[in-house]
Amino acid sequence: MTERLADFYGTYQSTIGYIGLNGLLALSVYTTLSCGQLALGNAGFMAIGAYAAVLLTMEAHVPFGLSLLAGTLLPALVAVPLGLPVLRLKGVFLAIATIGFGEVVRLSLVNSEAVNGAQGIVAIPQKTSVGLIFAALALAVALLGRLKGSKWGFALEAIREDEPAARTMGIPTGAYKLSMLALGAALAGLAGALEAHFTFMVAPNGFGFDRVVDMLVFAVVGGSGVVFGPVVGAAFLTLLPEVLREVAPMVGIEPGPLRMAVDGLVLLLVILFLPNGIVSLAGVIRARRSGRRPAGGTESTR
């Protein structure tokens, strides 16, 4: 039994690790979503964290803990001067500006000979264990969970619901938004640093626009109203391709397109019918059964 368990773990170790890494990344988008801001620069922050940690490990030979710390703090420090001008933008403008930032980071790395350009850095020592990934994830969930019930959390909620009103009530909205951007950057950087020491390699094209789209999709599918929603979404969507790979031959569709189609369909159904994510599914079903309309506006009120 234990042997089969070890076998299973050996086969799926990388998938299990990625459930944790994607959970961290989903939470990094959740931080800004929790105050109503759609900031999509996290692939860039992740790249900064990954490259900083890798260079410290491989060039400066510092202990791994210190690399991780630098990979977490540096993106947060970058987020502050970035956020000061950019967070004045609203809605999709903030999204576009931060996408632009992410692309600038990626393309700068592609054009930097010092970090081996588009090829990236390979043969990074493997220092990240699956246990470490989940410890980091647990820490992030605990931190964000604590935040939610606190005065800080209520301020974020007020900003999300009505920013001008929150400002009128004396909440320093700019400072709150900036600190959530920095916190998200730190989480993305941590995930990047962990991932680089988990997969032996980093390359700029791993940090493109589609990466941050993935993070957003994890958070939205899981549900961005509660802390564990993004984690559930990341786990669900990381496991889905594994299941689909088994299913693909049966339905006669290539695994690649099938995975994309199902991903897209899940996202569409969630945004149309479960705006609070799959974690709200049980509640919605219960509400349907008892004949009430589900909370959260799944039915349009026209």
Partner: protein
């Protein structure tokens, strides 16, 4: 020099067409339609299928593919945008649902045509060359610039001189006021999506003809560049999108010629980023309209 200017104008006309459709939807609905690039791609495959399977000449396949793109746009609006319109966060949820549709469309193209690069058969368009002062350009490039200019003029005429154009502008100003004045808002929004997607589809077919390299992910790079163009031009501003499209095309050609190909995209995104930070209203956008 003359050659590079033509190359830049030619690339720019494709960017401008693409961005015009993008910015049209934004101007009317304040939402970013991330499926625009998928329609760009799908229209190109439609034209390819018409040319290879049904042996259409390209001058018939192009309008047919553009019409097809417009119809896909109407379906897209029904599926991904209309159900969300009454939500408070419709600009963010609409962005996400359009992303979902884009993923599904790309998956369909991947399943039908495969991940490899498809090409128009040789002889679809003449590859004759024309001498201009300072270089040689292909007739194809000049044709593409001409098609783009005709489409800009047609769109301008449509929006300023026709009833549906006036209705589109009324809805862009205020959907509620337009409804009170008897405008059928749902129909106007559907028409807007038809127009927008048709423009995106036209850009796609021209792009496919120009570079003769068609793949399910061909929309991705254009998608982000289209964003740069509409921001640079000022979101919702159609003359701005055209101007910025040509500007980006020319800039890219000159960056490639003088700095090297790998800097091409970096320059456009750095420009995008600086514009948003320093002059968020864009080149021709109205100030104070950044609250979407």
């Amino acid at each position: 020099m003359g050659q590079q200017i033509i190359n830049g104008l030619f690339l720019g006309s494709i960017y401008a067409l693409f961005a015009l459709g993008y910015t049209l939807v934004f101007g009317v609905l304040d939402i970013l339609n991330l499926a625009h690039a998928a329609i760009f791609m799908l229209a190109t495959f439609a034209a390819l299928a018409l040319v290879t399977t049904f042996h259409f000449p390209i001058f018939l396949a192009l309008p047919a593919a553009v019409l097809f793109a417009g119809l896909v746009g109407i379906v897209l609006e029904r599926v991904a945008f209309r159900p969300l319109r009454s939500r408070a966060d419709s600009n963010i949820s609409g962005l996400i649902s359009s992303l979902a549709v884009a993923t599904i469309l790309e998956a369909v193209a991947l399943e039908v045509w495969g991940p490899n690069i498809s090409r128009f058969p040789i002889g679809t368009l003449s590859d004759a060359r024309v001498a201009i002062p300072g270089g040689v350009v292909s007739r194809l490039q000049l044709t593409i610039i001409a098609v783009a200019v005709v489409m800009f003029l047609a769109l301008t005429w449509l929006l300023t001189r026709t009833r549906i154009g006036r209705e589109v502008r009324a809805v862009a100003e205020s959907p509620r006021a337009a409804r009170v004045l008897g405008v059928n808002v749902d129909r106007v929004i559907a028409s807007t999506f038809f127009l927008s997607s048709a423009l995106g589809g036209a850009a796609g077919v021209l792009f496919g003809l120009a570079f003769n390299s068609i793949s399910p992910d061909m929309g991705r790079s254009v998608e982000l560049k289209g964003l740069a163009v509409i921001i640079l031009g000022g979101m919702g501003s159609m003359p701005g999108a055209v101007l910025a499209g040509f500007l980006l095309g020319l800039t890219e050609v000159f960056v490639v010629a003088h700095l090297g190909a790998s800097w091409r995209d970096a320059v456009s995104f750095a420009g995008l980023f600086l514009i948003l930070v320093l002059r968020p209203q864009g080149l021709l956008g109205a100030a104070g309209a950044r609250e979407a």
